[in-house]
Every structure is written in C-alpha cells, then in structure tokens.
C-alpha cells in the first residue's frame, strides 16, 4: 500500500494538468457559444416578414429535450461514480443509458429542424432563422460529437478496462458532457422560453 501511494499521487497530478487543459478548451467553447447567443439576441427580431419563434417553437418539445439532456448528465455522473469504485459493467451500463438519452435529444432536435425546414422556415429564410440554426445547430453538433466520444470511451472501457488513462479520459468526457448541459440551459432560457412569451 505504501508503494502505491506516491504512484497514485503522480498520476493524479498528470490527471489534473490534463483537466486544466480541458477546462481551457471548454472555456474557449463557452466563448463561441456566448458570441452565438449575442448574435441570436441581435438577430431575433429580424424575421423579414417570415415566421417568428412564437409560431415555430414548441414548448413541450423544448421541455422534453431539456429532460433528456439533464437526465443524461445525471446518468453520466453515475458512470463517473461507478468508475471510481472500479465497477466496469456498471460504467458500461450507465454510459449506454447516457448515450440513448443523448441520442433521443439529438433525434428530437433533428425532427424539429426538419419540420421547420419543410415549413419553409430554414436557415435561409431570415436573419433570425440563420442565427437560430447556427446557435442550436452548433450545440446539437457538440452533443453528436459527445455521443461519438461516449461510444469510443465505452469501447475503451470494454477493451482496456478502467485503467488510469481510461478513467482520466472518462473524467474529461464527463466535463464535456456536463458543459453541454450548461450551454443548453442558455439555449432554452434565451431562445425557446423568451420566443414563446
């Protein structure tokens, strides 16, 4: 045990350094989202006589998307907790549930986008819709990348087990996934809810 202790400390140092690097990346992503939010706020009234958020957005759809993403953030938390106790099958199970919840979110978003485009409210219709699709689409793209990353990490947990590097990557995936939930809080609070007032 006494031999294990310093080794664990070194690995947790490297762990923290990478976490810092990843925090810096997340903060740069936060800047991207914030400027897309500012663009949206500037463009929201520029509907060019076309449809506005009030006729396009669905409160129940936005609520369901919110529930799916929030639940997936929590189940990812359970996966992180299971990784700490070294329970590999629990990690895989929670990652699978997280993946399905995230997939449901992306599915709802794609359905919403296609419905809007079919109704003639695509990103080329007005400045408002360009800003809407850019902001919400950027978030949806991030979630899709997160889903890919969840698949990759599930493969690593399955094949390599919960080794130190794998656990460390899982931790950063968790930061990414929880961060996307924060960006979504901004989206429903700035796009959907005010649009439906």
């Amino acid at each position: 045990m006494s031999v294990m202790a310093p080794e664990r400390e070194t690995s947790s140092d490297a762990y923290q350094q990478r976490a810092l690097g990843f925090w810096l990346y997340l903060m740069s992503d936060a800047v991207i989202f914030a400027l897309l939010f500012a663009t949206y706020a500037t463009m929201v009234a520029n509907t060019d006589g076309g449809p506005s958020g009030k006729s396009l957005f669905s409160l129940s759809n936005a609520a369901l998307e919110t529930v799916l993403l929030l639940a997936s953030s929590t189940t990812f938390g359970f996966a992180s907790l299971s990784s700490r106790t070294g329970n590999r099958s629990a990690v895989l199970g929670w990652l699978l549930i997280t993946f399905l919840l995230g997939l449901g979110f992306v599915g709802l978003e794609i359905r919403e986008f296609l419905g809007m485009i079919r109704a003639g409210a695509g990103p080329d219709r007005s400045g408002f819709l360009s800003a809407f699709f850019t902001l919400v689409g950027t978030h949806g793209f991030h979630v899709s990348m997160g889903l890919t990353w969840i698949l990759i990490m599930s493969g690593q947990v399955f094949l390599k087990g919960l080794s130190v590097p794998v656990t460390s990557r899982l931790f950063r995936l968790g930061l990414f996934w929880h961060f996307l939930d924060i960006a979504w809080v901004g989206i429903f609070s700035i796009v959907y809810l005010p649009g439906l007032l």
Binding site: M27, L35, A38, L59, V67, S73, F78, S189, L193
Partner: protein, 99 residues
Amino acid sequence: MERHGLRSYLVGFALAVILTAIPFALVAMHALPPSRLVIVIAVAAILQVLVHLRFFLHLDLTTTPRENLLAVAFTAILLFIMVGGSLWIMVDLHSRMSL
C-alpha cells in the same frame, strides 16, 4: 471524495429539475406579464448554471485547483465584456436607426 459522491449528483439533478420546471410552467401558463417572466427566466437560468457548475462539474472555491478557477473567472469577465458590449452597441444602433 464524499463531497463528489452520489448525493452531489442527486441534489444537482433535483435543483436543476426545479429551476427548469419553474420557468417552463410559468411560460406555459402565461402566469406573469412577459416583462416579468423574462426576469424569472434569467434568474432561474443563472441559478441553474451555478447548480451545474457546483454539483455536476464540481467547481468548488476550496478544492478546485486555482488555475481552473482562474480560467473560469477570466472567461466570465471576457464573456461579460464581449456579449455585454456587443448587445450594448447593437441595441443602441438599432434604436438610433429606427428613429
């Protein structure tokens, strides 16, 4: 270790559900005039972001490494200047152009 345990995620989840349900329900029922609802939405959103940072991302003023906190604080200031400044300019321009 214990502070980032199961409890943290469950408390975070419960608080996030409450802070989501309040604005969604008020908007669904049109319970308040729009000008007041916007304020409720904004306050609930800010609180929820703090809940996520604390209970999901485990940002903590005492245990989180100082570099990470500095990165977050710097970004917060940057966002305030860039977003606040952009909106200030654009809203001002808009009101002057429509006169």
